[in-house]
Symmetry: C2
Subunit: 369 residues, 2 copies
Amino acid sequence: MPTYADPEGGRLIRAESLQAWTAALLERFGTPNDIAADVAEVLVSADRRGIASHGTARLPQYVALIESGDMDPTGRPEPLRSKAAIGLFDANNGWGHHASRLAMDTAIERARDSGSFTAVVRNSNHYGIAGWYALRAADAGFIGVSMTNTSPVVAATRGVKPVLGTNPLAVAAPAGAHGHFCLDMATSTITRGRVEVALRRHEELRAGWAIDPDGRPTTDAAAAFDGALLPLGGVEESGGHKGYGLMLLVDILTGVLSGSTAAPLIVPLFSTEAGAADLGQAFMAIDPDAIDEPGAFESRMEAEFDLLTASPTAPDAPGRILIPGEPEADAERRSAERGVVMDPEHHGAMESLGERATVPFPETSPIGG
Amino acid sequence: MPTYADPEGGRLIRAESLQAWTAALLERFGTPNDIAADVAEVLVSADRRGIASHGTARLPQYVALIESGDMDPTGRPEPLRSKAAIGLFDANNGWGHHASRLAMDTAIERARDSGSFTAVVRNSNHYGIAGWYALRAADAGFIGVSMTNTSPVVAATRGVKPVLGTNPLAVAAPAGAHGHFCLDMATSTITRGRVEVALRRHEELRAGWAIDPDGRPTTDAAAAFDGALLPLGGVEESGGHKGYGLMLLVDILTGVLSGSTAAPLIVPLFSTEAGAADLGQAFMAIDPDAIDEPGAFESRMEAEFDLLTASPTAPDAPGRILIPGEPEADAERRSAERGVVMDPEHHGAMESLGERATVPFPETSPIGG
């Protein structure tokens, strides 16, 4: 996941204030308080980890989904079928964050007995950053896997129309003194959120990231917004078929396995005119201690990353070799020190939303102010 | 996995003849016949699927490992610990193909009860094409996952030394009339085998695939052979950190979870001077019918790929949108019709090996002859 440089005219807010306000706002729009607490925690976690595209900046769109009736803020996940190591939940078109938190917690609890557990969710909604759920398993000492399908914004290899989502895949595991390993990646070249941030911040995209509506490669964020992203690896010649395969892997384990809507038929992202999103999510928890002495796995993780992070770097490298999740963990520490960063558009949107809902947005301070 | 064009001066051989000869040869070198049958099946499957780099062309290297005492052809996998949904095997430094076949079959059998099962193997050796094991699960109606760590030939993002393997990841699932979905990919830009084939066939590599021993990007196969491959996505600027993360994901679930040697310390590929490889492998089987009506998942897979393969293509696309595994399945059909293709070096090596072991290599015919 990309973390961003401080934006011009950005504001800072304490994460705790932002989270309490978010929960209060969601309750005002009909979300039961336990569900609102989950959603606020996941959204603010994205802001704390420097992933502006997946945090509270999304609130106006979530609220629109509630107001249009396309998402049911009171919807509660219910277990449908399960065996010792797999379970299916129906999210009942409620908040994806809550259904997913519950599914991952179920996977963790059940994996304590069985050694591993796969929890699949159907009829769900956007669930924020994939990494949050995987990290929850890592906090419990497990290997955690989290994935979701999403609205079609990516072209298949050789294709021109958006037929697949950015379908993120996250895997986390404890690594001793190195903190948590946390790979959290879209299986597209970039996320749709990244295109939106580029639009907001008037930035160009890199070549190979996207195509325009006619299928021509483009670096223009607006053309990419109307066209399609490319799978990880870009076009076929540069290995994009691998990204396409990974994207399908995520879709198969989430949407197809859970029995949600087929990927190309999923409604547009945050659409308020096309009905429920019916997304699928999948979570896995694997207990390393089930097949080894307690702590042995984590010690080996630490030793592995001792070796990797100390390995020599290329002459033009911007720093030492990193562990996936390290930039986000650094952003999280920085947010704890100084607060969460919001760009002016994000801040303005929060203030408007707060005003409209009569849940005033908390005080902020200028960056470096 | 790349499938190759017909090589100059190539030969054709019936897959059944090649497989019977391979098994007989392996027995001559001390492999018990049930184990030899597994190894021959997996190796010839690579040849049948057009993946020349992972098939019988490897036999001289496997034989060298037996003769140097670095691999024990009689080694049999033994189960160490297990719970309802996870199990650890020690391959006892035997053939990776056999231990892995047994681990995947265990995962499939146990997943019939538990809904999903993860089997992890330590102290193992090279296991051929990752896809074979995943396809075995798909044949049984399951979603199958197969991965292995391998000898370090890939640099970490920002790194210069090879510290990680090409760490393949394969996922397969039945897709009705479309056959099996089978993603089988190295998490590096390309496989080491591909570099070897390029060397043999005097072909250049693409930019972004590899670095030379000083860490400079190179397209020369010999320089890449002495240097390092790059993770999927290439350098950091083009998203190589995602490939690096995927590579680590595979290493964590195989080597670290199973308790094998830390990735950067694994002996060189097919080395006969450094001791046992001690590779780790991981397999997962997920039973879709555990949470749905029998056949429902496969019907949805078929419907999904009906939509995707009929989706419009970009003006310059070389054909319709494909399903991962389709080119390999086509190669398999073609091999069934005309026989398996061997380039002259491959054919010559097989004849020499057969002569030395007094297991004469079967008759072949020229391509198009």
